[in-house]
């Protein structure tokens, strides 16, 4: 069955209402095999509720959801055999150490003793927990627990890895380490479903994003496509960094044919243009005004621009 799969996740009209509050409304989403999918949305957008429905933790009010080809309402157990999951908030058994934890979960995946031992050793090493593998979990930092969380999600060599806000609550160092760990996972030929409200994180890791706002899926596309589209919408910019930006330089750039406006920010110039093809003229204008160009490049909208554009209002 898995061999025929086109969509690892497929929801049609998925809806969840808590009493009168609609958490997710009519969500139709497809995530293809091998995608590195970023599930974006502000806090309270319905990302975790969607994931909870995909995992079978909560029942949809309406609609259907299939994961790895299995209906999550009726065959969720089969789907979970090939899902690795890191919840946003998760707890461990404080009396257990890392090995005992992974061994317990490994048993639940039906792995035999030798298989568990080999896998646990590998995962503890990749999570950088070798030195603390015998320590009780109550002695672990949040970052260590999070890395163990990733390790338990990889026990079954998942085809689909669902990570819900994996860097939530981590300090900058631990966030960086976690991001590197996730980037490494993306090379494992696994479909990644990364839910986050951190745009930089998603931009670093994912190639496709779905943007959820107030329970509604407002866009799904490749980041490049969205970037181009939003770029057209908000205009084309050229970013120039030069030494000693003077008034003469700004005036010289403004006079170039095709330049619509120039904004100065220290040594940087943000030049709104008709078309990026006028970059050489801008370069020449700066040189003629006795400036020195350090870098000149087209400014493509980043995920933050896209996100703000799509979720505004």
């Amino acid at each position: 069955m898995l061999g025929e799969l086109m969509n690892v996740i497929e929801t049609i009209g998925l809806t969840k209402r808590f009493k009168n509050i609609s958490a997710v409304e009519d969500l139709s989403l497809k995530v293809g095999e091998g995608d590195l999918f970023g599930f974006l949305g502000p806090n309270g957008a319905g990302k975790t509720t969607t994931i909870n429905m995909l995992m079978g933790f909560i029942k949809p009010t309406d609609g259907t959801a299939k994961v790895l080809g299995y209906d999550v309402r009726t065959d969720g157990k089969k789907a979970r055999e090939k899902i690795g999951f890191l919840p946003e908030e998760f707890g461990f058994y404080d009396n257990f150490n890392a090995i005992e934890h992974l061994d317990y979960y490994g048993t639940l995946y039906g792995m035999d003793k030798r298989e568990r031992e080999t896998k646990i050793e590998e995962l503890i090493k990749s999570a950088g927990l070798e030195e603390r593998q015998e320590s009780k979990l109550r002695e672990y930092s949040h970052g260590m627990k999070q890395r163990l969380g990733i390790a338990q999600a990889l026990l079954n060599d998942p085809r689909l890895l669902i990570l819900d806000e994996p860097t939530s609550g981590l300090d900058p160092r631990a966030t960086h380490d976690m991001r590197e760990l996730i980037k490494g996972l993306s090379r494992r030929n696994v479909t990644l479903f990364l839910s986050s409200h951190l745009l930089y994180e998603v931009q670093q890791i994912c190639d496709v994003v779905g943007i959820l706002d107030r329970g509604h899926l407002i866009r799904v596309d490749k980041i490049d496509n969205l970037s181009r589209e939003i770029g057209k919408d908000i205009g084309t910019y050229i970013l120039v960094t030069c030494t000693n930006v003077t008034k003469e330089i700004v005036v010289a750039v403004e006079k170039v044919d095709g330049v619509l406006s120039v904004e100065q920010d220290g040594d940087k110039l943000r030049v709104k243009v008709d078309d990026v093809v006028i970059s050489p003229e801008i370069n020449a204008a700066i040189i003629s005004a006795r400036g020195r160009v350090k870098t000149i490049a087209e400014a493509t909208p980043d995920l933050e621009d896209i996100f703000m554009r799509l979720t505004r209002g």
Partner: protein, 286 residues
């Protein structure tokens, strides 16, 4: 099946490491053998089985408390501490989780109760110099089976509550409330009938009094009220297999036969586990 065993094993070891099992285990392990030893020493001509029956009244308190204490938070704690999300993300059903947790809790109680009772029984044999017969050993085995069934009912009751509530405090208070509540049903029904059936003449004549009480106990709804209390059924069946056939030492027969009391315990357990499964399956994990 291996998944249920894995959950059972994990629950069992977690309970064994828990303070509450250690505390109750130490108290139970100290009090029961001591009580049995003193009973054997100060009561002339009794058998070890009589000593065991004599200590049951005190021991039954521990049976119920242990059943509730080991199970009241097995589900609600995992919900609150969020470990249930990780657990249920594995390919297991909620039924397997409930059964595994139930067996793990019950086994951890057995690990305390059975050795302590065996030690107490051996002390009773040593002090009374009365070697039990095969029939006596059979009765003690039946006794152990009945109390384990009774404890299983309280574990099931506590788990049903644990699956339905949102905090451990609510769970423990509700479980204790249910314990008392179920225990009071029979007394309330019997007491409600007494003014109608017990006249001053009846009070004056002990034989007539007993006959009237037997009459009350023979009513179907009185039997039902008795059957709904696992504590009463456990006590009644346990005393019966040890040779004490009367209710509360008053020469009054139990409203139910020993077999009916055992069947009532089995039904109670099935209902409690059924409720736990139903609630745990139907509720969203939020």
């Amino acid at each position: 099946m291996h998944k249920i065993l894995a959950i059972t094993k994990k629950e069992f070891y977690e309970h064994l490491k828990s303070k509450r099992l250690v505390i109750f285990g130490v108290i139970f392990g100290a009090i029961i053998p001591l009580t049995m030893g003193l009973t054997a020493y100060y009561t002339k001509g009794v058998s070890p089985n009589d000593v065991l029956a004599g200590s049951h009244g005190l021991a039954t308190f521990f049976y119920v408390i242990l059943g509730i204490a080991m199970a009241y938070d097995v589900i609600v704690r995992e919900k609150k501490e969020k470990s249930l999300y990780t657990l249920l993300s594995k390919p297991i059903s909620r039924e397997e989780v409930v059964i595994g947790k139930f067996l793990g809790s019950l086994l951890s109680i057995c690990a305390i109760i059975i050795p302590v009772l065996i030690i107490g029984y051996l002390i009773a044999i040593a002090i009374t110099h009365n070697t039990p017969s095969v029939a006596d050993i059979g009765a003690v085995s039946s006794y152990l089976g009945i109390i384990l069934l009774g404890i299983a009912c309280y574990v099931g009751l506590a788990m049903a509550i644990s699956s339905a509530v949102r905090s451990s405090t609510t769970a423990i208070l509700s479980a204790i409330g249910a314990w008392f509540g179920l225990g009071m049903i029979y007394s309330i029904v019997s007491l409600a009938l007494m003014p109608q059936m017990l006249t001053p003449q009846v009070y004056a004549d002990p034989t007539l009094m007993q006959a009237k009480m037997e009459e009350i106990n023979s009513l179907w709804y009185v039997k039902l009220a008795y059957a709904m209390n696992p504590g009463g059924c456990m006590d009644g069946a346990a005393y019966s297999v040890l040779g004490l056939k009367s209710l509360m030492g008053q020469g009054l027969r139990y409203p139910l036969s020993t077999n009916s009391m055992i069947i009532s315990l089995v039904i109670f357990l099935a209902v409690a586990i059924g409720i736990t499964l139903g609630v745990f399956r139907s509720k969203d994990l939020t």
